[in-house]
Amino acid sequence: MSGVPFYAQIINLMAALLLLLAFAMLAQRRVLSLIDLFALQGLALAISTAVVAWGTHQPHLYGSTALTLLLKVIVLPWILHRLIRRLDVRWDVEGLINIPITMLIGIVLVVFSFNLAVPISQLASTVTRSTLGIAMACVMLSFLMMITRRKAIPQVIGFLSMENGLFFAATSATYGMPMVVELGIALDVLVGMLILGVFFFQIREQFDSLDLKHLEKLKEHQ
């Protein structure tokens, strides 16, 4: 990787790490370790953002780094942990599709999003353009995760890690969105998380479980 500046290499490394973690989450059965993986992903995201900020001298990206650290690494995992303790739902997560097949689909998705991203990356001005494909892959994988999980909390974690992918795309592929937008996004994520928390309790008190199979009553196919 000659000609590529050092910070870019780190970013690419982080990108790879992000993807790896996404796979790991896809494969992970235990909900607690799922949360840890999510936190790790957030950390990788934060580091990459910081590196971008340092490498491209864009001070406002430090802000979003801080934001990421605060939200994705500390607050949200903490909330999730508390939720799990409060609702004591320590079951293992059984997927709808078994893990190997999920993995295979995941790989296919990665390939797909890569060669979807290639033509775009060619014309990107940033040195870190190749990460766009990875970001897209992360989004796809989290989407897949949301589909395959049949419990509420893992689904939400999938949702959050999708946000991670988006953040990554925003920061690394395009050196960060305007600050106001990022703030807005962050706010939305936070509020969303809180609301979800409320939901968990409501659902719990209604069905005394967080299994989504209770939530399949409204339908057209009688």
């Binding site: 014309l123 989407f143 949702f159 969105m177 305007p178 609301i195 069905f207 409204l218």
Partner: protein, 483 residues
């Protein structure tokens, strides 16, 4: 400027005030007043824009042109009438013990916040803020959907949250791609997400990126618009939430989401020189119309029925915008207007009807007209209007859309007409026995609010027979803008 600030500030203040004094008995009145003030401000803004043309303020962050100003006026108006309607409605719900004071507090402040997000989404010039506002709209309404805490309402809210969240995430990715393409032309920083800027340079934007972006944006905002097959949250959310929420959801939210789609379509059209954006929209539109029409004929729940009819009509509008051209766009805008007016009117009537009979099931509701003629006729006329029977305005727009389709997309006409026929049979066969026949209705503790219903229907009727000139060239300008 001042009007614009008013439009955006009043709902926020209202939300705060209501959050503070929420539990008081005059909270509904406050809600009405706040919405009314918003409406007044919106009208002032409208007048201003009619007088002076498009305005661009607060360092280009806010932008008002014919396209969004009439949506602003519409949103403010429907928000106002819905507030009027929700006053007696919610009081009855409270007396029936279905809602508690804290929940009402939540409801009222969230209602104002929701209005704020809608108006923000319409007025902002920044695609990023647009996204934020759309997401915020979801967040403000999701708790309202689950207000009754019944299993069904929780399920609906959950689906609403997850599906729309995921969808909106796609929209964010699309926005990022947009930015990604734009910053190469406009350079990094705030300017690259401003719609006006993008619109100015749309010809130079990178086609491949933009087409990718459009896919994500369409899937994202399309989910909120309720395009088939992304629509699955919509009937549940409409059916299980309180009726005022259903009214604003299908009267306002869908419009605004569609507005977002159209805004991005304009950019893509400019950059990409193929017609794929149009084709996508026509495809989605047609699919929604047909599928919704057939699902209509399986409904047992009154509010679900009209939720599906909303899907159908959103499909029609999407199809119209997909066809493009002055007439079709004109018709699309007109249809957005009349649909949100008619549909909210129907939901008002439906809300009181469900209260009168204490059920939401269609078999349970019979002979409204014998016990309370105004309500019964309101429901009947609204239904016929929404089914596109003249002399109501829906017919006018559908007529224009159909004749354009006959000329430009002849292949699509049979599908459209079949769908319209099926929908007609399905809805009339359900609504007729509810309105006529032996009654099952009971007395209500409070006088139902029928003025909003008839006010809306009157406007729709007028639009069917006579479109005021300024409104017409308003639509025309917007249509030209959409291209």
């Amino acid at each position: 400027m001042i009007e614009l600030v008013g439009v955006l500030a009043i709902p926020v203040i209202g939300a705060v005030v209501l959050a503070v004094l929420g539990a008081r008995s005059h909270a509904p009145a406050v809600n009405v007043v706040a919405s009314g003030l918003t409406f007044v401000a919106a009208m002032a803004l409208t007048v201003r824009v009619i007088a002076e043309g498009p305005i661009l303020v607060l360092d280009r962050q806010f932008f008002v042109d014919p396209f969004n100003v009439f949506l602003v006026a519409l949103t403010a108006f429907v928000g106002f009438t819905t507030a009027i309607f929700s006053r007696p409605y919610m009081r009855i719900e409270e007396e029936r013990g279905k809602l508690t004071r804290p929940k009402l507090r939540l409801y009222h402040s969230m209602y104002q916040l929701f209005l704020f997000t809608m108006l923000l989404a319409l007025l902002t010039n920044n695609m990023g803020i647009l996204w934020v506002a759309m997401e915020a709209a979801t967040l403000t309404t999701v708790l309202l959907v689950s207000l009754y805490r019944t299993p069904a309402s929780l399920e609906a809210a959950w689906k609403y949250f997850i599906l729309c969240g995921v969808g909106i995430a796609q929209a964010l990715f699309g926005t990022i791609l947009l930015y990604f393409a734009a910053e190469r032309v406009l350079g990094a920083g705030g300017g690259a997400l401003l719609w006006t800027e993008l619109n100015a340079v749309k010809a130079q934007l990178e086609p491949t990126v933009l087409s990718l972006a459009f896919v994500f944006l369409l899937v994202g905002y399309g989910t909120k618009t309720g395009l088939v097959p992304l629509h699955n949250w919509l009937p549940d959310a409409h059916a299980e939430g309180p009726t005022p929420v259903s009214a604003v959801l299908s009267g306002l939210l869908l419009n605004v989401a569609l507005y977002a789609v159209v805004r991005s379509k304009v950019l893509v059209e400019g950059a990409v020189h193929t017609s794929f954006a149009r084709e996508l929209m026509m495809g989605f539109g047609l699919l929604s119309v047909v599928i919704a029409a057939f699902l209509l004929s399986r409904q047992k729940d009154l509010k679900r029925l009209f939720a599906y009819s909303s899907i159908e009509h959103m499909g029609i509008v999407t199809f119209a915008f997909g066809m493009g051209g002055p007439i079709a766009n004109f018709a699309g805008l007109l249809h957005m207007t009349v649909h949100s007016l008619t549909k909210s009117a129907i939901f008002y009537a439906v809300g009181h009807a469900t209260q009168k009979t204490e059920t939401q099931l269609i078999e349970g509701i019979r002979g409204l007209v014998t016990r309370s003629p105004m309500m019964g006729w309101g429901l009947m006329l609204g239904t016929l209007a929404i089914l596109g029977l003249p002399p109501f305005g829906v017919f006018a727009s559908e007529f224009l859309i159909l004749i354009t389709a006959m000329r430009e997309q002849p292949w699509a006409t049979p599908f459209l007409l079949t769908a319209l026929g099926v929908a007609f049979a399905a809805v009339v066969s359900r609504v007729q026995p509810m309105v006529f026949g032996e009654t099952t209705a009971k007395r209500l503790p409070h006088r139902p609010a029928m003025i909003p219903v008839y006010a809306h229907l009157a406007i729709v009727l007028m639009l069917g027979l006579w479109i005021p000139p300024y409104l017409a060239d308003w639509y025309r300008q917007a249509a030209r803008l959409i291209g």
